[in-house]
């Protein structure tokens, strides 16, 4: 196996830009799932929230968009709880809404940063 090589910086920048470009779609899926849950919808929406947040948590952390990670992890945790246990308290729903808005706000700055090619 060859060692000592790294993924070229230009490729990593391109991957981060692709991730940034896809952020609004991920957040839209989360928003739609949470809207459904607030209307009293099924575990299907909880599963969608959980899986989308889970993917976002792992990918954001790997690509250096760590501002997103704690909010995504919180949404994943709430989604898991709702999927496994069913009930959703108004307090938990409000917390999820807050986490989602924080995620969306952080997403704007992350997208601007990654689109400019700056990973820091």
């Amino acid at each position: 196996m060859k060692t000592g090589k790294h993924i070229p910086a230009a490729v990593l920048v391109a991957l981060r830009r692709e991730f940034a470009a896809g952020l609004p779609a991920r957040i839209a899926i989360l928003r739609e799932a949470l809207d459904e849950l607030e209307r009293g919808a099924s575990t299907n929406a909880a599963q969608r929230l959980r899986l989308t947040a889970h993917s976002l948590a792992g990918t954001s952390a790997t690509l250096g968009a760590t501002e997103l990670t704690p909010h995504a992890e919180r949404l994943e945790s709430l989604g898991r709880d709702w999927q496994e246990n069913g009930g959703r308290s108004p307090r938990d729903l409000a917390e999820a809404r807050r986490a989602l808005e924080q995620l969306a706000t952080a997403g704007h700055s992350v997208a601007a940063r990654l689109q400019s090619g700056d990973a820091q």
């Binding site: 196996m1 991957l15 692709e18 792992g58």
Partner: protein, 138 residues
């Protein structure tokens, strides 16, 4: 059905061949390109368990990388099916996960060589996979 021709990925003298099963498209590309550029691996990707299992059966890779949490068939079920099939049972499997609170007993029972947690250290990813493949199956 292809005949099993997989080799020890740790001691392979040619490019390591891997199948990556990961539902997140961005992460799939990151891992694939990291292993291709950084370690000269030959990485085939699949977006879900059924497609990944089919790719493993066809390609007989040296190692399989499986995201633990995927919609539909999860990583545990992928392990169960691959390890229960004589055509693929000898191929080492490494699990990928962002979960912090993993059930260690369930991971051991899965037959996977180990787990690599997200976020990945991209510069050390290939070495981490090989280190797990060098260890005996738990």
């Amino acid at each position: 059905m292809a005949e099993a021709t997989n080799v020890d990925p740790v001691n392979a003298t040619r490019a390591v061949r891997a199948v990556l099963i990961e539902d997140d498209a961005d992460l799939r590309r990151v891992v694939q390109l990291t292993l291709q550029f950084g370690a000269s691996w030959d990485v085939t990707t699949a977006p879900d368990g059924p497609a990944g299992i089919e790719a493993v059966r066809q390609l007989q890779p040296d190692v399989v990388l499986v995201d633990l949490m995927m919609p539909g068939m999860d990583g545990y079920e992928v392990c169960r099916r691959l390890l229960g099939d004589r055509a693929t049972s000898a191929i080492p499997i490494v699990l990928l996960t962002a979960r912090q609170n993993l059930d260690a007993a369930r991971v051991r029972a899965s037959g996977a060589r180990g787990v690599i947690a997200k976020p990945f250290d991209l510069d050390a990813l290939a070495a981490a996979i090989l280190a797990l493949c060098g260890a005996p199956a738990s």
